[in-house]
């Protein structure tokens, strides 16, 4: 049995089989899993915001889609993963509260998911599967021995990507 490594909000963790990476209670945040199926090495990032360009210098890069993904890729390559074998699975990006006259902050989940897709494309990583949107929270778990990305919800059942 491997260890279960917890990924907090605005956090990146990488690991090797038989470990498991888990992040609890994602709302409009997006959980990005990348995985090398041969080396059984992967990473999980829990991003909150789409774009680091409007942030101040010196902030936690794991918070943003555009900065977290390159760091996570570098970290899994350091563990021995091979770039061209990496595939990605993403989940989250929901809209928890609904208001009439939705402003940018309320649509943040959608914008996060879009920014993640763009950043993955830029890094040349294939997006293999996704479970995004809706109005409910998700807990995500990347099983490093199999590459299965498990998604748990309260009312909407569980899924495996």
């Amino acid at each position: 049995m491997g260890n279960t490594i917890k990924v907090a909000m605005a956090d990146i963790k990488v690991g090797v089989a038989p470990d498991t990476l888990i992040s609890y209670g994602l709302g409009s945040c997006v959980g990005i899993a990348i995985y090398d199926n041969v080396a059984k090495i992967g990473g999980l990032a829990h991003i909150m915001l789409p774009d680091s360009r409007q942030s101040r210098a010196g902030e936690n890069p794991a918070k943003f889609a555009d900065t977290a993904i390159p760091i996570m890729i570098k970290d899994v390559l350091k563990l021995g993963a091979v770039h061209k074998r990496l595939v990605a699975k993403i989940a989250g990006g929901s809209q928890m509260f609904h208001f009439s006259g939705t402003n940018d902050i309320m649509r943040i989940g959608e914008r996060n998911a879009e920014a993640v897709r763009l950043a993955l494309k830029k890094e040349g990583i294939k997006l293999f599967a996704e479970d995004v949107g809706g109005n409910y929270g998700r807990t995500v778990e990347l099983i490093l021995s199999s590459g299965v990305y498990k998604i748990k919800t309260i009312e909407k059942g569980n899924k495996e990507l």
């Binding site: 907090a8 909000m9 605005a10 956090d11 609890y24 209670g25 994602l26 709302g27 409009s28 945040c29 909150m48 915001l49 409007q54 942030s55 101040r56 902030e59 936690n60 918070k63 929901s94 928890m96 509260f97 609904h98 208001f99 902050i105 309320m106 943040i108 109005n135 409910y136 929270g137 998700r138 807990t139 309260i154 009312e155």
Partner: protein, 213 residues
Amino acid sequence: MLSDGEFTQLNALQLDALREIGNVGAGNAATALSQLINKKINMSVPKVSVAPIGDVPDLVGGPETLVAGVFLRVFGQAPSSILFLLPHDSAFALVDTLMHRTTDRTDYEITEMEESALKEIGNILSGAYLNALAHFTQITLLPSIPSLAIDMAGAILSIILIQLGQVGDYALVIETEFSANTENDDVRGHFFLIPDPGSLSIILEAIGVKENG
């Protein structure tokens, strides 16, 4: 605008002042809630914490805890967010008490009527809280209409944390815990006032404790 550094450097006087704001606001809200359900409400001394954003879900029992959250935006001179979080069981006990009935629940289904009741409770509490706060600070504060979600605490909190996350890595949280004994179940709730990043200095200035030192 206060940066993270200034957040973490709040002095004892400023923390006391913020605690007092929480006290005045929550006292008023507790009175409103007490009148609504005709029960005595116990209220904790407000906690003022400056927490790394990732740690905030732990304040309510972890990111996966099932909760009901009523969320309101506060407009005016010091834009903020208000979140009234109740454990799932408490939310239903509160609604049942309000509707003068007893029920045994086993599922997460919520009717439109119950949803509306919870929102209204959030509305009344926030109104009372903000009234006291506006009186105390002479700042105009207007609540938006309430919105409700029943889900994981982390997912519900994320909307506020994301807003704060755009400018910093820390959150200032003014939190009060309520409890009441009802026929149905004990009701517990957490009331959060989370000032937007620029709003904290406006509030501190309004109550005359802006200067550091």
